[in-house]
Structures are given as structure tokens and as C-alpha cells.
């Protein structure tokens, strides 16, 4: 009798779907609902026994694909390694992770998000290389410590934060907030509002269409081929370079303490440009008329002057040039005195001016 009951149980158990299969079902079974909205499971739990690597070597793990409904976000918290996210047109997320078999990737599924976390059996932070393929629309919230983050062609909101690692965002549409302490931020070909911040490295934004806010402490900021009516870029120790279209209704602010500001103004720009420096200089490759507004504050008007530019460098040179001209290097500050050419505007500013 007991044996028959056990056999019946085993038979019933064989019909119970695996957790990833639940996720793939359009309507999850009642058991999953009863268990709560949070389901936690491991992507490699079936492989631990047979593939266990006693040396803790990193071995590629089998992919897991989960069907997701629109609106669900992906949240990944990683310690070391990499998070690489590509996108596709399917409403499903493919998760692959390379890691030691002593670590487990936990997939938590809530009503609004799929969350990937790591459970380390050694009680030391794990190193995971995530390779994710997500729906294009998916909102991404990615964070890491010693982690590089790469995202391609995302069309949902992107929030990425790391401590010691670079962040690269390539292609895509929508708002992106990217932040690193020790890594470089690179954004290429994105349409949408970008907020990029690094502490100890630079920020580079190329072919961005949309509002830009870029910030660093000890790094330069380069903005190339931007198409935006709102750009703010500032750093403490590094240069700031801007090349892009100037919208008549735009607001553009570039500031640094120790570095140059290099702005390429298209020929037919309509902008009022305010330039401020304490001990730096002002250098233009084309003729401009500088009005002195206040102490060490100047202004020039190009065309109708509708757009507003604020350029500030405490002790570096502010360069104005045309887009086709070569970018200025900040190290040229030392040679600026012997580099006067016809049609160039130069203003030297400094303590000696007042005395």
C-alpha cells in the first residue's frame, strides 16, 4: 500500500513543470500563485552534482529563457565580472551566466521585475559574467561593483551603476542614467535623455540625440555629433569638448575647473555665448566680438543669439572653433601666446589683469 502511494506520488511529481516552464506559461499554475508572487529558483540547480568543479573554475552555464510580459523590468546586481545586455524582438529574456559552480545565479520573479542575484557558497563575493538577451522594450536596472556593463540597442529605460568598471551604451532609444566611480562611460548612437557620470574617469558621448547631462570629477568629457537642445557637461579636472548641432532654443553649459573648454560652433549658429574664466584665456578661431559683462565674464552673440551657451573654465582656455577644424588640446595652453593667427580672438585673463 505504501509502495503504491509512493509510486503515485512519483508519478504526480513527474507532471509538475519545472520553474522555468512555469515562467514560460502564459498563466502560471495555481501552485506558483499560491506560493506568492515571488518565485525564486536557480538556473543551474540541476547541474550542480554532475558538473561541480572543485577548483571553482568558471564554466559556461546553460542558457535559460523566460517569457516575459511587456512592462517587466530586468534587475541585475553583480559583484565582479561583466553584465552584457543585447536585445531582440521577442518577449522573452535569455539568461546566460559564466561563473564558478560554487556560485548560484538566483532568478527572482516578481510582478514587475525579473531580478538576478548571486548566492555564493564560499561567502565571498562572486564573479559572474552575465550574457543577457532581453526584449528591446525592457527596462534595465543593472548594478555592479567590479563590473563592466555593456548594453546594446535598448529601447526601455536604462539605469546602470558600477564602482570599478566601465559602462558602454550603444544604440537604443530612451532615458539612460549611467554612473561609475572608477570607470569610463561611453555612449554611442543613442536617442534619448542621457545622464552620464563618472568620478575618476571620463565620459564620452557620440551621436547622441536628446538632452545630455554629463559629469566627472577627474576626467574629461567629450561630446561629438550631438543633436540636442539641452546639454550640460562639467568636470573638475579635465577638458570638456563639444561638437554638435546648435538648436535655436537650446541651452548649453560646459564647465571645468582645471582644463580647457573646446566648443565647435557651426557657421550659422544663433547663440548668445557667455564665457567666464578666472585665470584662463579665451581663444576663437573665427572673429567674435566679446562684450565684457562683469569681472572676467564675457559675452558674444552669434546670429540672432537665441540659443544660450555658458562656457566656464576656472584656469583653462576656452576655445571656440568651427566643426571642421581640428580639436584643441588643452596642453596647447602653454603655447597660446605664440600662436596668434589672423582673425583669431584671444583674451588672456588672470590676476595680473586687475593689478
Amino acid at each position: 500500500m505504501l509502495a503504491a502511494a509512493l509510486a503515485l506520488l512519483v508519478l504526480l511529481a513527474s507532471f509538475v513543470p519545472q520553474p522555468w516552464a512555469w515562467a514560460a506559461c502564459p498563466t502560471p499554475p495555481d501552485a506558483a500563485r499560491i506560493a506568492g508572487l515571488v518565485a525564486a529558483y536557480s538556473d543551474d540547480e540541476d547541474h550542480d552534482a554532475e558538473d561541480d568543479d572543485e577548483y571553482g573554475n568558471t564554466i559556461p552555464q546553460p542558457d535559460t529563457t523566460i517569457v516575459v510580459r511587456p512592462g517587466v523590468a530586468l534587475e541585475i546586481e553583480n559583484f565582479g565580472g561583466e553584465i552584457s545586455v543585447k536585445t531582440w524582438d521577442k518577449d522573452a529574456i535569455k539568461i546566460a551566466a559564466d561563473h564558478s559552480l560554487r556560485d548560484k545565479v538566483i532568478i527572482e520573479r516578481t510582478g514587475s521585475a525579473i531580478r538576478l542575484k548571486v548566492k555564493s557558497r564560499r561567502f565571498v563575493p562572486a564573479v559572474i559574467r552575465y550574457r543577457i538577451t532581453a526584449p528591446r522594450w525592457m527596462k534595465l536596472e543593472l548594478s555592479g561593483v567590479n563590473t563592466d556593463i555593456d548594453i546594446e540597442d535598448a529601447r526601455g529605460e536604462v539605469r546602470a551603476e558600477t564602482v570599478q568598471g566601465d559602462i558602454t551604451l550603444k544604440g537604443g532609444v530612451g532615458f539612460a542614467s549611467l554612473s561609475s566611480i572608477q570607470g569610463e562611460i561611453t555612449v554611442t548612437g543613442v536617442r534619448g535623455r542621457i545622464e552620464a557620470s563618472s568620478v575618476n574617469q571620463g565620459v564620452r558621448l557620440v551621436n547622441v540625440v536628446g538632452a545630455i547631462f554629463a559629469e566627472s570629477v577627474n576626467g574629461g568629457i567629450v561630446i561629438e555629433n550631438a543633436e540636442s537642445d539641452s546639454v550640460e557637461a562639467s568636470t573638475v579636472n579635465g577638458p570638456v569638448t563639444f561638437e554638435g548641432l546648435v538648436s535655436d532654443t537650446g541651452y548649453y553649459r560646459f564647465a571645468t575647473h582645471n582644463g580647457c573648454i573646446d566648443v565647435a560652433m557651426p557657421e550659422k549658429s544663433n547663440a548668445t555665448v557667455s564665457l567666464s574664466t578666472f585665470s584662463g584665456g579665451i581663444d576663437s578661431s573665427f572673429p567674435v566680438t566679446l562684450k565684457k559683462i562683469k569681472s572676467r565674464r564675457f559675452q558674444t552673440t552669434l546670429g540672432s543669439g537665441r540659443a544660450k551657451f555658458e562656457l566656464e573654465s576656472f584656469q583653462g582656455t576656452i576655445f571656440l572653433r568651427r566643426p571642421q577644424e581640428a580639436r584643441q588640446g588643452c596642453d596647447s595652453d602653454d603655447e597660446k601666446d605664440k600662436d596668434e593667427k589672423d582673425g583669431k580672438t584671444k583674451v588672456e585673463s588672470g590676476d595680473q589683469d586687475d593689478r
Binding site: 563575493p125 566611480i181 575618476n200 570629477v217 574664466t277 569681472s295 572676467r296 583674451v347 586687475d354
Partner: protein
């Protein structure tokens, strides 16, 4: 005329504005330094309020509240040393400590929160006004301005480009001596410096949770900002009327506060997630 948006900044900070209003205000903030500075101040106050330590509550409080709810009346709790003379005089037990029912407690808490919020807001508005007035008043004397203008009128582009310095002249009610200007700057920088001191303490407590490489990077970047602040302060001492330097100093200090906040947050989250 007062800026029509100034009254709505608090709603903006509390995320209570409708989307069109918020967008309109954000556009306005891009152009209005006064409002954007006020928003920054409001956010700083909110941030500091969030970081206030939780007040410890006496262990027996909840049981007293519970018993008050159970008896359904306001009850005085005997206090050991509470004015025994008065109690004797009145012929009944009276204490200096008041016990309230739960709804009364909630109402009292709300009232205290509202009052303290209003107080902070009023103080902040006053200090904000003072700091906004400060730099305008401390303009350079006309002679200095003229001298500076004359020295700088060398570049080809500056032919006939001098504008009358009417703002500086008309507002030069306070002599812009070195010491006066430095005092103005100090007044303006005080909230930042207080925040920096508090964050420094918090970070010092938590820094062991951070990875040494992260600590080194943060320290080196704080040193870079400190150097910039020092240079800006010296510049301001040498040229007290320079509004650019004043704003630059304030922005650099704000950046330091932000970096310290970020570092502290990083350290506090590192506890549960391993060393950062």
C-alpha cells in the same frame, strides 16, 4: 516682481507637480539661477532630514499607548517625581508627563512635522534670500571694475565692446574689501561646509566597508575637489567681486557634497552586498 515659480519649488521637490507643470518648471530652472539654487537648497534640506537619526522611544511607550487604547480614555501616567506638591494641592494625582491616545499622538507628530518643516522652509528661504542678495551687494567698486576693463581691452574683438557696469555701480553699497567678501563667502558656504563635515564623519565610520582601491579613488577625487575649492577661495579673496568665482566655488562645494553622499551611500550598501 517675484518669480511666479518660486512658490511652487517645494511642490516640485516633493514631486507633487503635474507633468506639464513639472516640465515647464524644469525648463524654467535651466534659465533661472535663483530658482535652481533654491531647488538645490530644498533638496539638500530634504536629504539632511532623511538622514536624521531615528529618535529612540522609551520601551514602555507602546504598552502605555496600548493600555490607553484599551481603556478608551486619556489617562495620566504617574511619574515618580512629578510635582508632588501640586498633586497634593489639587487633591488628585497630577504629573508633568502627558499621555496621549494613538490618534492624538499621530496628530501631534503631524503637527510637529509640519511646524518643523515650515520652520526649516522659512529659515531656508531667509538664508537663500540672504545668499542671493549677498553676491549682488558685494560688487566691486567702480574704480576696480574700470581698471580691470581697461587692462583687458586689448584683444581685437574687444573694440568698443565695453558695457556700462551699472549693476556693479548701483549695488556697491558694501565696500568690497577682502575681508568683507570672504565673510560673505563664508556665510554662503556654511550649509555646504556643515553638510561636508557631517558626511565626512559618516564616511569615516563606514569606510572600512569599502574596497581599499575605491577608498583611494574617492580620497584622491576629494583631494582634487579640495584643491579646486582652495583655489577658488583664494581667487575670491583676491577678487571679492567676482560673481563667477563665487558661483564656481558654490558649485565645486556642491560637487564635494554629492561625492561624499555617494561615497557614504556606497559604504552603507556595501554592508549587505560585500565590499565595494
Amino acid at each position: 516682481m517675484q518669480d511666479p515659480w518660486i512658490e511652487r519649488l517645494s511642490e516640485y521637490v516633493d514631486e507633487e507637480l503635474s507633468r506639464p507643470d513639472r516640465e515647464a518648471l524644469e525648463q524654467h530652472l535651466l534659465r533661472c539661477t535663483e530658482c535652481s539654487s533654491a531647488v538645490e537648497d530644498l533638496m539638500a534640506v530634504r536629504e539632511r532630514a532623511r538622514n536624521l537619526p531615528e529618535a529612540s522611544v522609551p520601551a514602555e511607550l507602546w504598552s502605555r499607548i496600548e493600555s490607553s487604547i484599551a481603556t478608551g480614555r486619556l489617562r495620566s501616567v504617574p511619574s515618580q517625581e512629578a510635582r508632588p506638591e501640586r498633586a497634593k494641592e489639587s487633591g488628585r494625582e497630577r504629573t508633568g508627563r502627558l499621555s496621549l491616545s494613538l490618534p492624538q499622538l499621530v496628530a501631534a507628530c503631524l503637527a510637529v512635522a509640519l511646524l518643523s518643516g515650515a520652520g526649516v522652509f522659512a529659515l531656508m528661504k531667509l538664508s537663500g534670500r540672504a545668499s542671493r542678495i549677498g553676491p549682488t551687494v558685494a560688487q566691486a567698486p567702480p574704480s576696480g571694475a574700470a581698471r580691470e576693463g581697461a587692462t583687458q581691452a586689448q584683444a581685437p574683438s574687444r573694440q568698443g565692446a565695453e558695457e556700462p557696469r551699472s549693476i556693479a555701480a548701483s549695488n556697491a553699497t558694501v565696500p568690497a574689501t577682502g575681508s568683507g567678501a570672504v565673510n560673505t563667502t563664508r556665510t554662503e558656504a556654511t550649509p555646504h561646509e556643515e553638510a561636508i563635515a557631517e558626511l565626512r564623519k559618516a564616511l569615516a565610520r563606514e569606510r572600512d566597508r569599502l574596497d581599499p582601491a575605491t577608498v583611494r579613488a574617492l580620497e584622491s577625487n576629494l583631494a582634487i575637489i579640495d584643491l579646486a575649492i582652495d583655489q577658488a577661495k583664494r581667487a575670491l579673496a583676491a577678487d571679492p567681486a567676482n560673481t563667477y568665482v563665487k558661483e564656481h566655488l558654490a558649485e565645486t562645494m556642491r560637487r564635494k557634497v554629492e561625492l561624499l553622499q555617494r561615497a557614504t551611500l556606497l559604504a552603507s550598501t556595501a554592508n549587505s552586498e560585500g565590499t565595494r
